[in-house]
C-alpha cells in the first residue's frame, strides 16, 4: 500500500530536485501536447523557452517584462513571510502609475532634471498610500487583508480609468482615454541602444538584493521571519506585531508603486487605461516560485518573463494559438508548485494496516 508521510524536516535534496522534476514532467507533457497539434515539439519548446533569450533585443525585452514582476514579488514575499496576505500588488502598482503620471504631467513642457526623480517619488508614495489603507484597517479593526486588498485593486483600476478619461486626459488627444506623452526629461533613462531596458529594471534588482539583506542580516528581518513562523512566540518575545505589519506592507506598496511608475515613465511613456496585464497577480506566482525569498524572486521573475515572451513568439514563429500556450504555461506552473509537495512529504510503501 502506498501512502504519504510528512517529513520531520524539509528535504534538502528535494528542495533542489523538485524544480528539475517539474521541468522534466513539463517537457514530457509539452512534447505530447505539441505533437498532438502537429507542431514540432522541440521547435516549440525552443521558441517558448530559448528564443526569448536569443538576442540582445529579446534579452532586453525580457528584462523589461521582469522588472515589474520582480518588484511586486519581492514586496509580496516579505508580506507573506510575515503572514500578511497582501493580494493588492496590482492596485498598488496602478496607484503608483497614477500618482507618478500626475506628477509627470506637470513636467510635460519641462526639461527639469527633477522631473524624473519626482515622478518616481510620486509613484512610490502613491503605492505606499494605497497599501496603507488595508494595513490600517487590518491593524486597527483586524479586517480581512485578502478581501480589502483585492477590493482596493478594483478601486485603483477605476480611479485610474476615471483619471485617464478626465483630469489627466491629453487635451489634444481627440477625447481618447490617454494622457499626453511624457517629456523626455521625465522618462527613465534607457540602458541599451537595441532595446527598452531602463533604469527601473536596475532598481528592481538592487531592491531585491536590499530586501534579501534586510531579511537575512538585520534584526528586523529576523523579527519578520519569527513573526511569520510562529506568531505566539513573536508576541511572547515582545515583538511589535503592528510595526512589522506596517513595515512589510509599506515596503511592498513602495515597490509595487515603483513598478507602476516605471511602466508609465518607462516603456509606455504615457498614462493609458491598460498599464498592467496583471503583473500584481502574476507576482503572487513569482513570489511562491521563488520560495518567498528575494533572491528566488529574481530567478522566478526571469523565468516567468521568458514564459510570457515565449507565448507571443510561439504565435509569431509557429502559429501556436495563445490558448495552447496558456495551457502549457499553466501546466508548468502547476508542476513546479505541485512538486514542492515532495519537499515536506514523502511517499512510502508499507504493508501495515492491510486488513
Amino acid at each position: 500500500m502506498i501512502r504519504v508521510q510528512a517529513r520531520t524536516e524539509p528535504s534538502t535534496l528535494m528542495t533542489f530536485a523538485s524544480p528539475l522534476l517539474a521541468i522534466m514532467l513539463t517537457l514530457i507533457f509539452g512534447s505530447i501536447l505539441f505533437s498532438a497539434l502537429d507542431k514540432d515539439p522541440i521547435q516549440a519548446l525552443h521558441v517558448l523557452l530559448v528564443l526569448p533569450l536569443s538576442d540582445a533585443y529579446n534579452i532586453s525585452e525580457m528584462l523589461v517584462k521582469m522588472g515589474p514582476l520582480l518588484l511586486c514579488a519581492v514586496g509580496l514575499s516579505l508580506c507573506y513571510r510575515a503572514n500578511m496576505w497582501n493580494i493588492g500588488a496590482e492596485g498598488q502598482l496602478l496607484a503608483g502609475a497614477l500618482g507618478g503620471s500626475a506628477v509627470a504631467l506637470m513636467f510635460v513642457d519641462s526639461e527639469s532634471f527633477m522631473a524624473m526623480p519626482l515622478t518616481l517619488l510620486g509613484g512610490i508614495l502613491s503605492g505606499m498610500a494605497w497599501a496603507a489603507i488595508p494595513t490600517y484597517l487590518k491593524v486597527k479593526f483586524n479586517s480581512n487583508l485578502i478581501l480589502t486588498t483585492i477590493m482596493l485593486n478594483y478601486i485603483a483600476l477605476y480611479l485610474l480609468i476615471w483619471a485617464v478619461h478626465g483630469p489627466l486626459r491629453d487635451p489634444d488627444g481627440f477625447g481618447f482615454p490617454e494622457s499626453a506623452l511624457f517629456s523626455d526629461a521625465t522618462l527613465l533613462p534607457v540602458l541599451s541602444d537595441s532595446g527598452r531596458v531602463h533604469l527601473g529594471v536596475v532598481l528592481a534588482v538592487l531592491l531585491a538584493l536590499f530586501a534579501w539583506f534586510i531579511l537575512s542580516k538585520t534584526h528586523l528581518g529576523f523579527k519578520i521571519r519569527v513573526y511569520g513562523a510562529d506568531e505566539p512566540a513573536a508576541t511572547y518575545a515582545g515583538y511589535n506585531a503592528k510595526g512589522i505589519s506596517w513595515f512589510v506592507m509599506l515596503f511592498a506598496g513602495a515597490l509595487a508603486g515603483l513598478a507602476g511608475v516605471s511602466e508609465v515613465a518607462g516603456p509606455i511613456g504615457q498614462l493609458t487605461p491598460n498599464i498592467s496585464p496583471g503583473y500584481g497577480y502574476s507576482a503572487i506566482i513569482v513570489a511562491y516560485l521563488g520560495r518567498l525569498h528575494p533572491a528566488g524572486a529574481i530567478i522566478a521573475s526571469v523565468f516567468l518573463a521568458i514564459l510570457y515572451m515565449g507565448g507571443d513568439l510561439a504565435q509569431i514563429e509557429m502559429g501556436i494559438p495563445i490558448a495552447v500556450v496558456g495551457m502549457f504555461q499553466g501546466v508548468l506552473l502547476f508542476f513546479l508548485l505541485a512538486c514542492d509537495f515532495f519537499i515536506r512529504y514523502r511517499v512510502v510503501s508499507s504493508r501495515e494496516n492491510m486488513a
Partner: protein, 356 residues
C-alpha cells in the same frame, strides 16, 4: 520522421536560421487585442486575415498574435513581427497607436497600418469603419420596434467613435419615433461579458426594450433573449445567440481593405492615408436580419441601408444641435471625416452628460 523532427529541432536550437530566399512569400502580420474567439472585433479582423490568405494564396504568408495587452507588451510584439520579416503589419486596436508609431520609425522598410487611430507617418497609415452608418440603421430599427419608447445603449469608452455612434443611433430613432428616449450605460471595456450582461439588465430594469451595444461580446443579446426584449448585434453575425431577440447584426468586414492595402504594398504603390470604409465599400453589412420583424420595419431598414450606401443620405448633415442648444453642424454642411473623428457632443434630446 521522429529523427527528422529531432534534427530540425536541434538545428533550430543551434541557431541555424533559414536564410531568406528571394522568392519568399510576402509576409503580413496582425496584432489583435482580444482572442480570435471573441466572436466580435478580433474575430472579424481574423476573418479578414483568412480572406486575405484565400485571395492571394501562396503569394503571401500571414501571422497573427492574439490577446496582446495595450500596455508595454504591444511595442514588443509589433517589433518582433517586424523583426521576423513581416512586410506589412496591421495593428487592430486604438491602444496600439503609439507603440505602432514607435516601431514604424525604427523599421522604415516595413509598412504599418493602424485601425481606429489618428497618428500617421511615412510608413504608417490608419483605417477605420464608418460604424455610424450601421448605427443609424440600428437606430431606425430600434425607434420603430420600441414599445416603451426607451432604447438602451451599452457604451465602451467615451471616445469620439462611440459618442458619434450614440448620436447617430439617437437621431435615427428620433426620425421614426419623435417620443423616443435613450439611456446610456458605460462599461469601460470593449469585451467583458459579465459587465455587458449587468449593463443590459440594468437598462432593461429601467424600461429599455431595445438594446444597442458598442461592445463586442454577445452577452447583451443573450440577456435580451432571456427577458423577451430585442437587441442588435455588433461586429459579427451574433444571431445564433438570440434567435428571437436578434434584430440584425452590423457586421464588420475588413477583407476588402486588407486585400487592397496588401496589393498596394506589393505593387509599391502604397501611400499612407486615413481610410474610412462603410456600407459603400462593403466593409459594413447587415447580417441575418430577423424574419420575425414587422414588414414596415424590414422595409425601412432596407431603405435606410440603401440610401446610406448610395451616398444619398449622410447621418451627420446639418442642421444639428447639441443637447445644450448650440448649433454644432450648420445647415447645408455635412461633417467631414476629420470632423467626424472629433465629435464630443451629444445631439439634442439625449438627457445625459458625456463622462469627463
Amino acid at each position: 520522421m521522429k529523427l527528422k523532427s529531432l534534427l530540425v529541432g536541434l538545428g533550430l536550437l543551434a541557431g541555424v536560421g533559414a536564410a531568406q530566399a528571394a522568392d519568399d512569400p510576402f509576409k503580413v502580420g496582425f496584432v489583435y487585442v482580444g482572442p480570435v474567439g471573441d466572436l466580435g472585433w478580433s474575430y472579424e479582423h481574423d476573418r479578414g486575415r483568412q480572406e486575405l490568405e484565400k485571395y492571394f494564396g501562396d503569394k503571401i504568408e500571414t501571422t497573427y498574435v492574439e490577446n496582446v495587452p495595450e500596455g508595454a507588451d504591444a511595442e514588443r510584439v509589433i517589433t518582433q513581427l517586424a523583426k521576423s520579416g513581416n512586410d506589412l503589419i496591421f495593428s487592430t486596436s486604438f491602444g496600439f497607436m503609439n507603440p505602432t508609431l514607435k516601431v514604424a520609425k525604427r523599421f522604415p522598410k516595413v509598412t504599418f497600418e493602424h485601425a481606429t487611430g489618428y497618428k500617421r507617418s511615412k510608413n504608417m497609415g490608419t483605417y477605420v469603419l464608418r460604424t455610424y452608418e450601421g448605427r443609424y440603421v440600428s437606430g431606425v430599427a430600434a425607434g420603430m420596434l420600441t414599445e416603451t419608447n426607451t432604447i438602451g445603449y451599452i457604451g465602451s469608452f467615451p471616445i469620439p467613435e462611440v459618442i458619434r455612434d450614440i448620436n447617430s443611433s439617437f437621431m435615427a430613432a428620433k426620425s421614426v419615433n419623435p417620443d423616443v428616449t435613450m439611456k446610456i450605460v458605460w462599461v469601460n471595456s470593449w469585451y467583458d461579458p459579465g459587465k455587458e450582461t449587468d449593463a443590459a439588465n440594468a437598462l432593461m430594469d429601467q424600461g429599455v426594450d431595445v438594446l444597442l451595444q458598442h461592445t463586442d461580446s454577445p452577452a447583451p443579446l443573450i440577456a435580451a433573449e432571456k427577458r423577451g426584449k430585442r437587441a442588435i448585434g455588433q461586429a459579427s453575425d451574433q444571431s445564433s445567440f438570440a434567435p428571437t431577440a436578434h434584430v440584425f447584426s452590423v457586421r464588420d468586414d475588413w477583407a476588402p481593405y486588407y486585400i487592397k492595402v496588401t496589393q498596394a504594398v506589393m505593387d509599391g504603390t502604397y501611400e499612407p492615408s486615413d481610410f474610412w470604409g462603410g456600407f459603400h465599400e462593403d466593409m459594413l453589412s447587415l447580417a441575418s436580419i430577423n424574419d420575425n420583424l414587422p414588414a414596415d420595419v424590414r422595409a425601412k431598414i432596407d431603405e435606410t441601408y440603401a440610401k446610406i450606401k448610395s451616398g444619398e443620405f449622410h447621418p451627420f448633415t446639418g442642421p444639428i444641435k447639441d443637447n445644450k442648444g448650440n448649433i454644432v453642424v450648420a445647415e447645408g454642411h455635412t461633417l467631414t471625416d476629420t470632423e467626424l473623428a472629433q465629435v464630443n457632443w451629444y445631439v439634442e434630446g439625449i438627457t445625459d452628460e458625456i463622462p469627463r
